[in-house]
Amino acid sequence: MRYSSWLAIVMVVFCLWSGLEYRDFHKQLLQTEQELKSRRQFQKAVGLPNLAITSAARYLRHYSITDLTTPFQDYPASLDHFPAGFAFVPPDYSNMPSSIVFGKLEM
């Protein structure tokens, strides 16, 4: 068999593989569409934000509404104490009345 025919076979395999994943993608999206209603209902019933991916620490579980000092309660910069802390960013504190100052207090 010619080399180009082999390439054509490889391309057909890739097309089938892509088709399979595309079909899966659509199936999942349709399924989500149906699930969405109950997820919204749940969110309305229980108003807590964030996903239950990690429950290692409360500032990771509900990091959108965590309080200011919680991530640092063990020692400064202890945010990454938990492995999941690697995947989460500290929340936005831009709405705090005054900015936090680290270091020496100026007298």
């Binding site: 010619r2 080399y3 180009s4 082999w6 390439l7 890739f14 593989w17 892509s18 994943e21 899966d24 993608f25 999942q28 999206l29 989500t32 699930e35 969405l36 109950s38 997820r39 919204r40 209902q41 749940f42 969110q43 309305k44 019933a45 229980v46 108003g47 807590l48 934000p49 964030n50 996903l51 239950a52 991916i53 990690t54 429950s55 290692a56 620490a57 409360r58 990771l60 579980r61 509900h62 990091y63 959108s64 509404i65 309080d67 200011l68 000092t69 919680t70 938990f82 492995p83 999941a84 802390g85 690697f86 995947a87 989460f88 960013v89 929340p91 936005d92 709405n95 705090m96 009345p97």
Partner: protein, 404 residues
């Protein structure tokens, strides 16, 4: 000169390109593997962070408008009931609701549950009924309506292991006796990513478990019908009561959209080493063809091949190698994240939790991003393969063959 139709001609050229790729088998297989791995790594990270962000965003519009917390000494503390009428007085506020919630750490299982107190009768009505798999309610639960609970699937499975799937005993060493709770249902698996670690208790029971004094609440939620006013009302609450902190829905959505972006960029930047190694490999290829390859081009020219045919050969070589590897990288990443559920990568997100969700994510495949991956992998690779070949092809064949 190759004769025949355009199609036949390209087929012959592809035949020759494939033969030429196979002749330098070890080098090309190495490039293929590194190429696939790189595209796979970058795509996987973007797929997983995209999906998680999407999972959070799809329900974010149903979050409360403003969450009000009380901060004392830099820590979040309970909110006394006396704030409620004061906040209700602010014009534009429709309702202030109280929330009772917290965490319960179970030492024996090393699991951290989220406890949420609400009126469970609400869930038995209307649309809410459908989010719970109701169980046959035992008789004593009827007698003790305050000590009922509905748990998430993850919690349920954990409790099953310790034979407490019907009723669970909450206990802390400081308590006189344990508090038994009947499990009247579990949340459906559709809501798993939100409800997995959740125990929803009847409010009064939740107060007992969380040891919350009467007339105090964990936090308040404020409903504002006009979205334009939310920011202003949040500002008013902070001005009137400096010890209160407000988190608006827009702020929560902001943290949602940025939470994984920053760290995925960090992971990608640690991949830079790999990307650089790959660049060096390509550089090696680009900085000049090997004398052998140059001689091959010289011979082809000498036996009468046109420059454009030689360039076609090199073009097909580059396209086949880079095209196949980026396609394989993206397809593998999809299968890894959505079919295998990201083993290895998901542990970064789960961390040390004992209650795992199944990690079945909604696929989030952005065509823009796929196009970007193909553009930054295929196009530069084509350039570095075709350009040196062109340089060699326009040189005098005699000079190339004699390697002057």
């Amino acid at each position: 000169m190759i004769s025949g139709s355009w199609f036949e001609r390209q087929k012959n050229i592809i035949d020759y390109s494939l033969q030429s790729l196979l002749r330098r088998r070890s080098k090309n297989i190495l490039i293929l593997i590194i190429f696939v791995l790189l595209v796979f790594a970058v795509s996987s990270i973007l797929f997983i962070t995209g999906s998680l962000t999407r999972e959070m965003m799809i329900t974010s519009n149903d979050l409360p408008d403003i969450t009000v917390q009380r901060i004392l000494g830099g820590r979040q503390v309970n909110v006394p009931a006396l704030f409620i009428p004061e906040i209700e007085k602010i014009p534009g506020v429709e309702a202030v609701e109280t929330r009772v919630w917290g965490y319960f750490y179970l030492t024996s299982l090393q699991a951290n549950f989220t406890i949420y107190g609400m009126d469970l009768n609400l869930l038995e009505e209307g649309e809410y009924r459908k989010i719970v798999n109701w169980k046959n309610i035992p008789e004593q639960a009827e007698k003790n309506p305050d000590f009922r609970m509905i748990v998430g699937q993850g919690v349920y499975e954990l409790l099953k292991d310790i034979q407490m799937e019907k009723a669970y005993l909450f206990y802390q060493p400081s308590w006189e006796k344990p508090i038994p709770f009947d499990i009247i249902g579990t949340f459906k698996t559709e809501t798993e990513l939100q409800s997995n670690d959740l125990m929803v208790l009847q409010t009064e029971g939740a107060r007992r478990v969380l040891e919350l004094p009467p007339d105090e609440f964990s936090d308040l939620v404020v409903y504002v019908p006009n979205p334009e006013e939310i920011e202003n009302i949040a500002l008013k609450i902070r001005r009137y009561f400096p010890e209160l902190r407000t988190v608006t829905r827009a702020q929560i959505q902001n943290t949602y959209s940025s939470v994984f972006g920053w760290k995925s960029a960090f992971v990608l930047s640690s991949l830079l080493v790999a990307i650089f190694a790959f660049l060096i490999l390509i550089w090696d290829k680009a900085s000049g063809l090997s004398p052998e390859e140059k001689r091959e081009i010289g011979i082809l020219k000498a036996i009468g091949w046109d420059t454009d045919v030689i360039l076609s050969v090199k073009f097909w070589e580059g396209l086949i190698l880079s095209g196949i590897s980026s396609l394989a990288g993206i397809l593998l990443a999809y299968a890894y994240i959505y079919w295998l559920r990201a083993p290895g990568l998901r542990e970064i997100f789960i961390g040390w939790s004992t209650i795992y969700p199944s990690f079945q994510l909604i696929p989030d495949v952005d065509p823009k991003f796929l196009l970007l991956i193909v553009t930054i992998s295929v196009v530069p690779y084509l350039a570095v393969t075709v350009f040196p070949a062109w340089k060699a092809a326009i040189t005098d064949p005699d000079a190339i063959i004699r390697n002057i």
